[in-house]
Amino acid sequence: MSGLDPLSAGVGLEDAGDIEGDTMLAPKPLRADVWRRFRKNRLALVGLCFIIFLILVAIFAPLIAPYGFAERTPGAFREPPSTTHWFGTDTIGLDVFSRVVYGARISLRVGIIATAIAVVIGLVLGAVAGYFGGKTDGLIMRVTDVFLSIPYIILAIAIASVFGKSVNSVIIVLGFTGWLGLCRIVRASFLSLNRLEYVEAARSLGFSNTRIIFRHMLPNALQPVIVYATISVGSIILAEAALSFLGVGPTPPTPAWGLMVAEAKSTLAVAPHMLFFPGMAIFLTVLAFVFIGDGLRDALDPKLK
């Protein structure tokens, strides 16, 4: 956030110059430049590779997994990892490796779709609040205050318990509760952008509010949003796992990682592998998104750090 001011000030001057240009792209740091700085951050690169790997695993899950996610192996209960069951089997004879592989689909789907919903809501409401100010701003900010005053997890489990137990309802719950922080960030950017000359110029040219907000201001407010959204995918995956663990997420035999951890808790002493592998999958995925988010922040704004 603190890096925003010098950035937007510079952008404002350049933008005012080619205001009548037809396709106006915000002059952000060149993409190649950002990529070059991002590439230098080894942890971020490792995180990116892991996520690409995970996406491939999710796409090709039926080819990778030796068993179906609900396919029982008769007689193989809570078996430790072996060559036939790489991650062992669970209490009812399901192959843990196959379930972890299929679980990538659920986690990524929830993380990405819910983040997309949250980003759209947060962007629109934050932009509207920051751009129009006054009563509109007051109303939107009071609404965010109300929702922020309920501790996030309580809000999420309360809504989830009403919406029923499925992957889709978890997506809706996390999407519609995840926009609050983003809304504040976007609003703050718009408040500072509002004072710049190029916005003034766009207004005096008689452009519609929609056009000014989305074509002129939004591209300049996107940087913190990109970083926030990246980290948010990770934290939404974490929240999904927590909801599944608490029993308000998808129901068995859905191969959600959080649910697998919950199923393993009563047999921790005899079958720790049932808990270790899905737990590790959640941990590595979230960590990868944290690394990518950190790397993006440093690459987009080299002044910080």
Binding site: L43, S149, I150, P151, G234, V261, P272, L275, F283
Partner: protein, 334 residues
């Protein structure tokens, strides 16, 4: 200052009112019979008798506005109703659970402050060294571990393994429940109590400690570039004094903010930690209440937690002015 506190408190009241009303209406305004929802949930067919009892107890035959007015009429007098499942007064339940949560929270916050700040400072002083890099990775990792997975891993390492390997008795930690519930000065465990406390406390503290350490490192690096630190060095103070007396004090401010902002995360972590360790606190009670659709318990405990949340945020704002006299509250609001 005084006017500012009053204004902030007045703003908290409508916020909490709308938040609680939202949760209340969430259960009632949605399609489906609320009695069925309360008694068993949308996805199950509950026992007819349970549905009937739910309807009677909540006066669900009344109109929704009437129920809403009744709910707030009771809540304003701090009558939080009775648990739908056990019939216990929610006020009693709240008192009992809050004490347990508070004890756990005190230890988690102590761990967060002591470890978070010292790891952060240690890392900042050795910037770019190998140990700094490892600590940075370590704190990132600690902030990405799901609380409940960490809880179970610690249970395995410190309770299951010592048992299996036959290690001496003093290494065995307990993983379930509150324990003998013996304390001195409210929060210091006595006797066997520490065995029950230590794992949940560290589990609860882990994420916020990592975040505090990261924040402390960044803040310390900022301060170490400041002119007054160079002045302190040039007047001949040794490095330790420079760091602790001059650097640390100035670098603490953002971290204190974080501890406040982070309180929501701590509550989330508490729900999971208390569930994992069967610690009978507010968090596990709220999780249970949601699972059982025990609306009075859910709303009552949430109300208490939300008020605590608001008070902590207010205290954090006030502490800025106390720690940094340059900040004047209430003059410049965004």
């Amino acid at each position: 200052m005084f006017a500012y506190v009053i204004r902030r408190l007045l703003l908290v009241i409508p916020t909490i009112f709308f938040a609680l009303s939202f949760l209340f209406l969430l259960f009632f305004a949605l399609p489906g019979d609320p009695a069925t929802l309360l008694a068993g949930g949308a996805d199950r067919t509950p026992d007819a008798g349970v549905v009937e009892r739910a309807r009677e107890r909540y006066g669900l035959d009344d109109s929704l506005p009437q129920q809403f007015v009744d709910y707030w009429g009771r809540t304003i007098q701090w009558d939080l109703g009775e648990s739908f499942r056990s019939g216990r007064s929610v006020n009693d339940l709240l008192g009992e659970k809050a004490v347990n949560s508070l004890r756990l929270a005190i230890w988690a916050i102590l761990i967060e402050i002591i470890f978070g700040i010292s790891i952060g400072v240690w890392s900042a002083v050795r910037r770019y060294s190998l140990s700094d890099k490892l600590t940075t990775i370590g704190t990132a990792a600690a902030s990405a571990i799901p609380v409940f997975v960490l809880g179970f891993v610690l249970q395995y390492l410190f309770a299951v393994v010592p048992n299996k390997q036959g290690w001496p008795e003093w290494t065995h930690l307990r993983t379930q429940g509150l324990g003998p519930d013996t304390w001195t000065f409210f929060f210091i465990p006595t006797g066997e109590q520490w065995r029950y406390l230590i794992l949940p406390a560290f589990t609860l503290a882990c994420v916020s400690t990592a975040l505090a350490a990261r924040m402390m490192r960044g803040s310390m690096l900022e301060v170490m570039r400041a002119d007054f630190l160079r002045t302190a060095r040039s007047k001949g103070l040794n490095e330790r004094q420079v760091i602790t007396r001059h650097g640390l004090r100035n670098a603490m401010l953002p971290v204190i903010t974080l501890i406040g902002i982070d309180f929501g995360t701590v509550i989330g972590a508490a729900v999971l930690t208390e569930t994992v360790f069967s610690w009978p606190g507010l968090g596990s009670a709220i999780a249970d209440a949601v699972g059982e659709r025990d609306l009075p318990v859910l709303l009552g405990l949430t109300l208490a937690v939300t008020i605590a949340f608001a008070v902590v945020n207010l205290l954090v704002d006030l502490s800025y002015a106390w720690f940094d006299p340059r900040i004047r509250l209430g003059k410049d609001e965004t």
